[in-house]
Amino acid sequence: MAIPVVSRKRLNEGLSVTSKVFIRSRNGNASKIVREHYLRNDIPCLSKACTKCQTIVSPNAQGELPKFVLSATPLKLKEVGPHYVVVDTNIILQAIDLLENEQVFFDVIIPQTVLDEVRNKSFPIYTRLRTLVSDDTKRFIVFHNEFSEDTYVKRSENESINDRNDTAIRKVAEWFQSHLPSISTVLITNDKDNKKKAIASGFKNTKTLVEYIDLYPNSAELKDLIPEETNFKSNTSEKFYSDYYSTARLMAGLKNGTLYQGSMNINSYNFLEGEITLATLPKPLLVLGSENLNRSFNGDSVIVEILPKSQWKKPSSTIIDDENLNSNVDPETTALDSINDKERKLLAQEAIQTQSNSSDIQPTGRVVGIVKRSWRLYVGQILSNSIPKTNSNSAKSCFVKLMDRSLPRIRIKTRRAQDLAGSKIVVAIDSWPTTSKFPEGHFVRNLGESESVKAETEALLLEHDVEYRPFSKAVLECLPAEGHDWKVPEDLNDPEVLKKDPKLPKRKDFRDKLICSIDPPGCVDIDDALHAKKLPNGNYEVGVHIADVTHFVKAGTPLDAEGASRGTSVYLVDKRIDMLPILLGTDLCSLKPYVERFAFSVIWELDQNADIVNVEFNKSIIKSREAFSYERAQIRIDDVTQQDDLTKGMRILLQLSKKLKQKRLDAGALNLSSPEVKVHMDSETSDPGEVEIKKLLETNSLVEEFMLLANISVARRIFQEFPQTAMLRRHNAPPTTNFEKLNDMLRVKKNMSISIESSKTLADSLDRCIDPQDEYFNTLIRIMSTRCMMAAEYFSSGSYGYPEFRHYGLAVDIYTHFTSPIRRYCDVVAHRQLAAAIAYEPLDLSHRDKDKMERVCKNINKRHRNAQFAGRASIEYYVGQVMKNNESEETGYVIRVFSNGIVILVPKFGVESLIKVEELTSDLSSVEFKEDEYSLEFKDQNGNMRNVGVFEKVQVEVKSQLDSSVGKRKAVLVLK
């Protein structure tokens, strides 16, 4: 290699230029890239102990000088004395939790080289590192060594980039040591080679992480937190999994259509069975057995290949969880390397044919590469039988069973296994080498005793990636300075007021309208309020008034960024995690009764038929006359003695809402069910008391209908104004395959069917699914249908064509979310877009940029889903707690039948649980699984033959049982 070496060229005092040369391999091509690289001499060390650097610093573009962070009197430790720490990339990647620990690591220097490497390897860790640096308490700095004349290192010939970066990191440590001789600089690296080279070059203060932590007086308790790569070096070189293909092979395979990329979706009943939805195949490709899953996790983005036809299988009809772990591994996985790409292509065609023929045998695949890991922090519990018996002081491995059942157990090393037993703990995954049967990780944090409210709540928030930390200072600073004393200005023409809010005259004054709000009891964040009155021409004026959140949450502020990242408020049984600070949510924005508030109003003129004659959007000032609960509103409407204008308005609303609903149903809107339950809390002890299924009143649907109407009207308007970036919501029609199984069960058992041609036919066919003997049957079918539906999603209008905007469930052509800006970020964006559409204020650029909008949509879709899951998990936990105290006999329905168990849904508690065949019968030989009839025949405990089929109504004894090995309370059902 003899590329002409362009040495440094001095441009002027303090600035010189050099060049970097590298090859970029992309899409099989290789381009030589040459970059100019500028070096300067005014990069400060940022140490308060330094006298020289104070004089060389220059201000940045904002005119601010860099802040000197490193302490003049840093922490003293034995051996090294007062010292600064330079960390290598591997330390950050492996032990970011330890860096964040408040007891260790102060005055840390992060070389820019390290920062860049971290960013390339893991973006989440990079952001955590950035937070650490911006937070002053632990005194972390980034030293831009790549741009400093003194520390820049040129890559020499035949040197790998890693070696070059290691050299650069060592150079930083050496430079700091010579720059500040009074304070020792310690280089910490877990890279043996790097350490050896540092010591060879005379830099003695080089330590591994363990050696460094050992210097602390309290090292014993800290050591558990150290992930060690060498921890699990097994002496056997036995390989449990095959290696992934090389990137070169993966790229070519994807390109020529012999390998496929998709997202791994592990079956929640069988953790050894995964599915990957591929664009090229009509049905998801099955991946069976841990060897074929090849270390992939649920949610990983993976690359798969189709296995030879001899290994195609039926999807399993058995339930497998971690307990019967090693049984299903297919021993005869022939090596695939012997097949060439031509044969693979034929295989793919055959797979497509087989899937379309709906035969029993389905094509299966094998994971050959992982594009992106979905690894995050996981919550779990140490398996009690894996805790080592001997009580020695050295770290022992044990297994952590995760809360998420579709994931394998994790092996960690800890000295405190016995202390941690029975607690919910947070673990991080470090790696999963081919020589290890299970992924390897390390202990991060103890959440507290299993089943305690605190630990469980935190666990489920962590599991669903819900940000629950208090709002940061920067966010809170965006709130109005008046705090709770903020008021709508009394005199709207006061020049002082107008100076502060020049847009005030554009607001309509609706304080004379008789507005009220109707919400669930105890609601404090009131998003919406309504009013209605009869017009002289016989039509009705109906207004929906939504809290004007965007008056307080301006685009581009930290408050807005926080809202955008949280995406939604999360409602748990006993707790609400707000999207916006509580001051806004429950006070300033909340449309509380008797006080004046800013609102965003949608006012329609509706005719007798509830058809829209006219619609108007305005920012406004309103004063709600009353805040009703659904129940109280219902009582007031029904009370004929009440003849005031407010009540009359409510009656108009009710009457119009019924018409709206009828029209919607006629158009084919779906009425799907999910077993929504509510947990009643004892108001004194906040112990869960009883569970009930949510009741629906007419007033519920009153509010709902007008919110739908407002959302639709707003959607049309913002789409008209911003055809490329309008924030909308759509709901896809379900693919036919989703309903195949349900339809087949219905046909076999009840001789019924569901048609999914359109939402109208679906709604009608659902209405026909009635069992005269059982009124719950219809609801059951609706619940099961709901599970076959697609999830609705937010999108920006430029991402799809107009016909795809359709909301299948609501049967409208266009829809958005506008009516709950306090708890959903989509509504905030819709508010801003609508405000721009009515020329109230210009729209922020970020909401007119297609890419940025798509990013926002992606995030809020994810947050929305997570919030739903977290809410359900919370209910599940509390239902478990309630059942703990009440054992009872209830009615249940069989919803799935497996060869080794049945799944039963108990509507009263909204729980479903599995009864394994071993619990059904003592005579296992009598069990017969009739797959085509969806039934299981067995000899019950009394010795009588019994046949249980899907949809069957059964009596079950419900009790709650704690699985002590995983600390999870499960509903246990016993068939009567």
């Binding site: 040369v21 099989g28 290789a30 890559r155 090389s246 790229m251 070519a252 020529n256």
Partner: protein, 268 residues
Amino acid sequence: MTLSVAESSYLYDSLQQSPPIRPDGRKINQFRPIQTNIGFLESTNGSAKITLSDGSECIVSIKSKVVEKAAIASGRENLIDVDVEVPGYRDDSAFISNLISTLQSIYTNYISRESLNLTSRFTYKLFIDVLVIANYSYPLSLISFTTYLALKNTYLPKLISSVDDKEIEEQPTFHDYEFNRLEIEVPIIFTIAVINNNYIMDPNAQEMEVSDNGLIISWYNRKVITPIETIKLNEGHVKAVKPELIINSIDLVKSLGDSVIEALNKAE
């Protein structure tokens, strides 16, 4: 450059002498001195510049691209693409097209495919970009010498993925920093002017002006190769070339070829 009738007559007469008297005093087999510069364009895979004593100057840069062999075989892509730019000539002029087609064919025929081979499915393709900055005499020799230097000093990215991808396809992947030197033999082209019974190597502008005809003779791997062609070195004044002169010219090239290559190989 136009010579007066007296000037051209004088020059023609002196070049007819035996041995010919060249205006700059050179022997018939003597080149004008050249100045070379190699590898100065960082973002290319190889580059060279030659400056002649009369101020003619040529820069050649080599860029590479990974292509499928199938694309070359089917004729969708050339293995080597030559582009020539000479100030004062349109891209579509006969002069430029002639230069390009001569160079294109000689390089395509004589640069070995094996040297550009990557894997069983992929090969490098080379782009040879020629920029003649100033030319006072026929530039073909100048271009071929400069291209010789550029190609001899071309470094291609080093393949790190597997070479055999016929049955199981792989996408070529390269080392992020290391290059391999392109090991090839490159043909060069000599220009000879014919004046009556004499032939002179590397004619300058005045010699071209009065010459009866011109010859190009190519040299590759210590042998004379095609193309051997006549070329018009001036407007108007053209006479037929006697066959023995062609033989003599070829002998001249044979006697010179090795030493020219040796000289070029010494260039830095």
